[in-house]
Amino acid sequence: MTTVDARTGSAWLDLVLRFRALGLLLALAVLVAVTASLNPRFLSGQSVRDLLFAAAVTLLLACGMTVVVLTRGIDLSVGSVLGLSAYLTGSALSATGMGTAPALLLGLAVGAACGALNGVIIHFGRVPPLVATLGTLYVLRGVVYFAAGGSRINASDLPPGFLDFGSGDVLGVPYLFAVAMLVLAAVAVFLGRYRAGRDLYALGSNPEAARLAGVPAGRRLMTAYVLSGALAGLGGVLYAARFGTVDASAGYGIELDVVAAVVVGGVAIFGGSGTALGAGLGALLLTVIDNALPVLRIDQFWQQAIVGALILAAIALDRLVSVRAAKALRTKGSHVD
């Protein structure tokens, strides 16, 4: 193999490996371009704002999900945690009229507590994450039912400041989306550039090796699940702020959307590889699909089918790219010459 070959191969490879998200960005761009060319209003200020509103909660949850999926786990309880947090903060807001900041903290705390519960069951109880969080999905939803019953928190019950936070924006970017972006950036740096973050990858990549390498599995897993829970809790507050109405079904079934976003975003479901940025793009892509289909006047009954087909297309495309990368890796060889 000549040096020139090796270098170009390696440059291409590095690009693909480092920016696995490129394919997603491309898909996103194509989708937006096509939709906008068919209906220019799709790019109007109002429409973009709506999109960002819609993406904020999924994006947030996708960040948390990424963190646990990297450890070879999964958190199916996020929908229920979101519901619980949304209902509890909603009630607290309507009862006390508290400010937005304390509400956000309350949501974080509720979510973190739920996440800690998951973490304890998974790590100390040694229950597989899928089982544990499927269990808490039911249990926490049951708790929401108990708490909410058939009642509903209406927009008129919530303090106006909170609703303004839900609908307001700064320089055209909704507050909610800004919050989600901040979280995304923080999670991305944490996962990529801090030892604790890398430990999560290590745990997911090879749990046995992680034990041998002295990675504190318990502490890290707790961190991951608490983080996922806390972000779901925060998502609950954003949900309440955005919709203004909260009932016992808030966030019902959202877990599969979030898992889909993370997987489409290139996070390996068996842990160890993927980025928060990819997951965020996955969430954005799915939201854009959801929003573009009605705009394109696609028949109502076709929409779900198209979403499914696009998910399949996205993961297949991602696979194609990574297979080509692996092939390039093989010919590149493991030894430097």
Binding site: M1, V189, R193, Y194, R195, R198, D199, Y201, A202, G204, S205, N206, E208, A209, A210, R211, L212, A213, G214, V215, P216, A268, G272, S273, A326, L329, R330, T331, K332, G333, S334, H335, V336, D337
Partner: protein, 506 residues
């Protein structure tokens, strides 16, 4: 106890009366070991003697049921591996445990990555440090490639680099050389000697006595989980050690039977896999043992994997008994009577969570079925027979294969392939991690099979094994066959010359 006068300072590490059981299996029952600064100490014993378990106790992975671990004379109880690492103990485990998704460089520094500003990981520094360590070991592994896909030997080299980079006071190595060939071993020893001279205590586990003699000053023998003896190496002979290990006399080491080769059974022509091997041609005849020798990474495993069909091929033909084998179809190869004992027993050989019975009989699941149904009896009988033949030391045939010691795992992998009664037996590092006693057993087995007309293709990095067992030696270098040597021509020098392409580096 040892009658040696202890040097003045207390041993760096001292294990006394350590016991450890796994369910009904008593892996350790009163093991003792002292390690001194500036000394390389060998630990030898049969497969399943408890060597790996002992070092896992030392590494903080297992908590002993009884006995004490002392550091500099002070008793300690490590809560986990991190605690042992903090105390200056670095361990190379028997089975490489890398993070496939990390780069090689990051693998070296998990949990202790160099930090830069704001506590962020300094990736440039990490790469630099990794490159420096590999340069010191003389290993040409690219620090930026992911660890996934590294050959078992490269994995072991990464593990070695990882342990050495810790600059530990105590360096423990559990069969680090099992997959390495002479050149890499010599480089490794050079580095280890330097560390020892700087005052580190080294514990070295190996089944290769030449290596033990080359590196170590003292040797401890273990049997059945207990301490047998500790001596200066200069005071004991290999025969004495072996007798203490196995408790009996051994027969000939390489019990090669002379066989008149029959017809060509396995014919490989122009086999090529892009970037891995090129234009490889050879034949193996009935009753013949052909060795495929070469340095680590020369592409030997790649060749046999393509022959067996577990990997595809880009060009070339494989014939067994005159009939062409379809590429990429191991089932066809098995039907044609080919068996492959793969090099990586944990990844490629074993179903670690399943029972020994299942592992030993999975290759014969169809043959053992009656009217298409398996009720378990036939499988258990077959497994019992084979584990007896290969002296598999186990706590019960229903136990998971993952609970076996390294060497015993290797025996199970051998059993599951020998049981198929192959016409062509391909073995890739067949005795990796197997103790001397059983190694002789395996050699006798291979030899016997050849005598029965089986064509045997053996990949081995152990030169003595190659020279002792092979009728012909094919030497590979950089993916090509560099030359062929008859049994008479094959010597350490002639093989190494072909393998390295220059005057032997030994």
């Amino acid at each position: 106890m040892s009658a040696l006068p202890d040097p003045a300072p207390p041993p760096v590490v001292s294990l006394a009366g350590v016991a450890k059981s796994f369910g009904a299996v008593r892996a350790l029952r009163g093991a003792d070991l002292d390690l001194h600064a500036g000394e390389a100490h060998a630990l030898v014993g049969e497969n399943g003697a408890g060597k790996s378990t002992l070092i896992k106790v030392l590494a903080g992975l297992y908590r002993p049921d009884a006995g004490t671990v002392a550091l500099d004379g002070e008793p300690v109880a490590f809560a986990d591996t991190a605690a042992a690492m903090d105390a200056g103990i670095a361990v190379i485990y028997q089975e490489p445990a890398l993070f496939g998704d990390f780069t090689v460089a990051e693998n070296l520094f998990v949990g202790r990555q160099p930090k830069g500003r704001f506590g962020l990981i300094d990736r440039a520094a990490m790469r630099r440090d990794a490159a420096a360590i590999f340069a010191r070991l003389g290993v040409p592994i690219d620090p930026d490639r992911p660890a996934k896909g590294l050959s078992i030997a490269d994995q072991q080299l990464v593990e070695i680099a990882k342990a050495i980079s810790r600059r530990a006071r105590v360096l423990v190595m559990d069969e680090p050389t099992a997959a390495l060939s002479g050149v890499e071993v010599e480089r490794l020893f050079k580095v280890v000697r330097a560390l020892r001279e700087d005052g580190a205590a080294v514990l070295f586990i190996s089944h290769r006595f030449d290596e033990v003699e080359a590196l170590c000053q003292r040797v401890t023998v273990m049997r059945d989980g207990a301490h047998v003896s500790t001596d200066l190496l200069a005071d004991v002979t290999v025969e004495q050690l072996v007798r203490r290990m196995v408790g009996r006399e051994l027969g000939a080491m390489f019990p090669k039977q002379e066989v008149e080769p029959g017809e060509a059974v396995l014919e490989v022509e122009g086999l090529t896999r892009e970037g891995l091997c090129r234009d490889v041609s050879f034949t193996v005849r009935a009753g013949e043992i052909v060795a495929l020798a070469g340095l680590v990474g020369a592409g030997r495993s790649e060749v046999v994997q393509a022959v067996f069909g577990i990997e595809g091929r880009d060009a070339g033909r494989v014939r067994v008994g005159g009939r062409e084998l379809a590429p990429g179809d191991p089932r066809a190869a098995m039907r044609a009577g080919v068996a492959l004992v793969p090099e990586d027993r944990r990844q490629q050989g074993l179903l670690l969570d399943l029972s020994i019975v299942r592992n030993a009989t999975i290759t014969r699941r169809n043959a053992l079925a009656r009217f298409g149904f398996l009720t378990g009896g036939a499988e258990r009988r077959a497994a019992r027979d084979w584990s007896a033949r290969l002296h598999v030391k186990h706590g019960g045939l229903g136990n998971a294969a993952g609970t076996l010691s390294g060497g015993n795992q290797q025996k199970v992998v051998l059993a599951k392939w020998l049981a198929t009664g192959p016409k062509v037996l391909i073995v890739d590092e067949p005795t990796r991690g197997i103790d001397v006693g059983t190694k002789a057993e395996v050699h006798r087995l291979l030899s016997g099979l050849a005598a029965d007309g089986v064509a045997v293709l053996m990949v081995s990095s152990e030169l003595l094994e190659v020279l002792g067992m092979a009728d012909r030696v094919l030497v590979m270098r950089e993916g090509r066959i560099a030359g062929e040597l008859s049994r008479a021509e094959a010597t350490e020098e002639s093989v190494m010359l072909l393998a390295t392409g220059q005057e032997a580096a030994l």
